[in-house]
Subunit: 409 residues, 2 copies
């Protein structure tokens, strides 16, 4: 009988374990609890609830601590409700505490997926909102936000906008505060966006940080929208994937959501424990409805290995998942000289995201954005950055390269 | 100027780092962003937002990979709102992804704490509900729940209750399902509880698993209460600490909450990454309002080192935290022969929690509970388990020891 199942892939480290037995223990223990001691008549009833071992791929290590198995278990849908907490608790609730084991991947039945509309906008929707179809997008981050008042934030925003960025996001550590409360911040920044658009002719999304008590997030989002917000930033892992799922499914939340990876380092970096980055920051963020997903770039101080980065992006756009693809936003350590590398690694469907690489530009914040836009245009046109920088009108790019260098892949 | 701050303690591994510099980078980077390049006038305004290095304690390692520092940073309260997501994102949002660093502990200002009423019942409240002041409590877990119908679950419940257990909890992987939906499950099990109480004279709390979409959890809890539920089980880490905080603060949720540690193994076991168990399963669970906190015992297959276990318990009862103490529920691998060890390790303010150690008893489930109660009484009276088992009427304990052995500490 073919049966709707979700499958989980684990990597389990153990120098001596019988991994087949371990896999069977997971499949039975996390579903019906026990099997061999069930009466035959009961087995017939329970079979539709029983987990199955799909595969066990043992890698014999050469040294102690290196022997592991990749184990795939199928969990019948009938055992859990159609929400991410239920699936995660089923497949990695108790098991997460059972020795060296990491959750690598999940695959969802179409029935499970039917509860997930996914990103409301996704890559194409974001491009449509911005009217930009043919190039990577450029996002910038405030230089500093804590302790700044509204005129200061507005001024930072305006200077970033003038440089031709497509998106500006709040810092993830900017919470509700008396100096720059959500609604007033949205009003001030969106007014600065309109002022800049009058000069640049370019649309802009401002992702305002959605914070506070969980039960008030949806109403906060709607207040932000009423105040003119056209995007949200959300610290998904501090609240849970289900909260993102509910926000992104809310018909009254009519603007894109950018998922911030804050706290993700508590989950993905260990080889032995936690949840792999492509699942945590890729597949689950997309399933839960992130239109844009930020994750550590392979270029900066907050480093993730390049293969892992690319696997995160692959999960965000994998056509096998029947929801809209999410925009990849590899972040940290980005300056204009890295644009050719970013485009080689991630293609043109990427958001180039910079903070210091924009604000720290020797000619100022607006020039910082311009330098990135010039680097993007040059790279798309097959022109090396030094050649582009030598062209008239490309002083911003030249100054950026003089400051930070460049890497031609 | 004395200033309200919350402090975070980290362990950072690095063979070469200048840990003083790293600590300063954290204190500045996660608060005002930059400091040395600020104009003097601005510094005066920003000072109240600036993080401070409290201490840096370097442990020079003898081998590569063993050099680390314990770093304590103070974060001004003025920077974040009074909720756990804001505090966690501030102190371990971006930082979690910055190399080998683990969040060991948090200390809260009294102003921050003022937003947290803590457990509504706590240890004393649970004891009052049960009318049991003078001994460890006994909790049991259903043998298996998935695929069982109401009469079966009711029967399992009744047999457990007959054995003299104080609490029975749902399995954490029992979600809303057509066979045993929440309200009907509560009605059936509470009716079994009353039936058992008529025989045993003993009160009993049934912790029903609270599941489903985040926004419906409070109303589900209230439906459960209306159906007669007298306790809740909650998979806190699948939903986020803030959800527990909101549930436990809800004046209409008038029953104790038991926090399940599902997913905790994704956070605490690595020495290099994540969040330490005493903070994750102890201090934060209590702050967020868990009346009972389950965590892996040091005795079973799902193992946590004994010192770490005791540190979890210490956090759950530490008088320095001005909220009610939470009951410790060390779980997994518990049989009656371990009771002397459990009481030595955790004292009498502990919940002895067993599944297989009750259902697997050779004389049946009710005898399983009786064996635990006999082991608890013997230990409290300074009688060794073999001596107690030899007494008339202690057949249940004798059979348990014959099956599983015992450990006299």
């Amino acid at each position: 009988m073919s049966q709707a199942v979700c499958t989980a892939t684990y990597r389990s480290y153990d120098d001596k374990a019988d991994f087949q037995k371990k896999a069977l223990g997971i499949a039975v223990g996390l579903t019906v609890g026990s099997w061999t001691d069930l009466p035959e008549a009961r087995k017939a009833e329970m079979e539709k609830h029983l987990g199955r071992v799909v595969s066990v791929d043992v890698h014999e290590g050469t040294e102690p601590g290196t022997r592991y198995a990749d184990i795939v278990i199928a969990y019948p849908d009938v055992n859990f409700s159609r929400d991410i907490p239920a699936l995660l608790v089923t497949v990695f609730g108790k098991l997460s505490m059972d020795g060296r084991i990491k959750l690598l991947d999940l695959d969802f039945s179409s029935d499970f997926l039917s509860a997930f509309p996914g990103p409301k906008f996704g890559m194409a929707g974001i491009r449509d909102l911005l009217g930009v179809q043919d190039r990577p997008l450029l996002m910038s981050i405030f230089k500093s936000v804590i302790g700044h008042d509204l005129p200061n934030l507005r001024d930072q925003f305006y200077k970033q906008a003038l440089g031709g960025v497509d998106l500006i996001k709040d810092d993830e550590i900017l919470f509700e505060n008396p100096l720059t409360p959500l609604q007033k911040r949205v009003e001030a920044c969106m007014e600065a966006a309109r002022q800049a658009e009058a000069e640049t002719g370019q649309k802009l999304l401002y992702a305002v940080n959605l914070t506070g008590p969980t039960s008030k997030l949806a109403s906060q989002a709607k207040l932000a929208i009423a105040a003119g917000a056209n995007a949200l930033l959300f610290n998904v892992l501090a609240y849970g994937f289900d909260v993102l799922h509910e926000l992104s499914s809310d018909p009254e939340i009519t603007i894109p959501i950018a998922a911030h990876p804050a706290m993700a380092g508590a989950f993905y970096p260990s080889p032995h424990y936690g949840i792999a980055a492509p699942l945590l920051l890729g597949k689950l963020m997309r399933l839960a409805g992130a239109d844009l997903a930020l994750f550590p770039s392979p270029y900066g101080s907050v480093v993730m290995p390049r293969e892992e980065n690319l696997a995160v992006q692959a999960a965000l756009i994998d056509p096998a998942l029947p929801v809209r693809p999410s925009f990849s936003v590899p972040s940290a350590g980005i300056h204009p000289g890295l644009v050719p590398l970013i485009l080689r690694d991630f293609g043109t469907d990427v958001v180039v995201n910079a903070g210091g690489g924009i604000h720290g530009h020797p000619m100022g914040t607006a020039a910082g954005g311009q330098a990135f836009r010039q680097a993007i245009d040059a790279t798309l046109n097959g022109i090396s950055l030094p050649d582009a920088a030598a062209q008239p009108g490309h002083e911003a790019l030249r100054a950026a390269i003089d400051s930070w260098g460049f890497k031609q892949p």
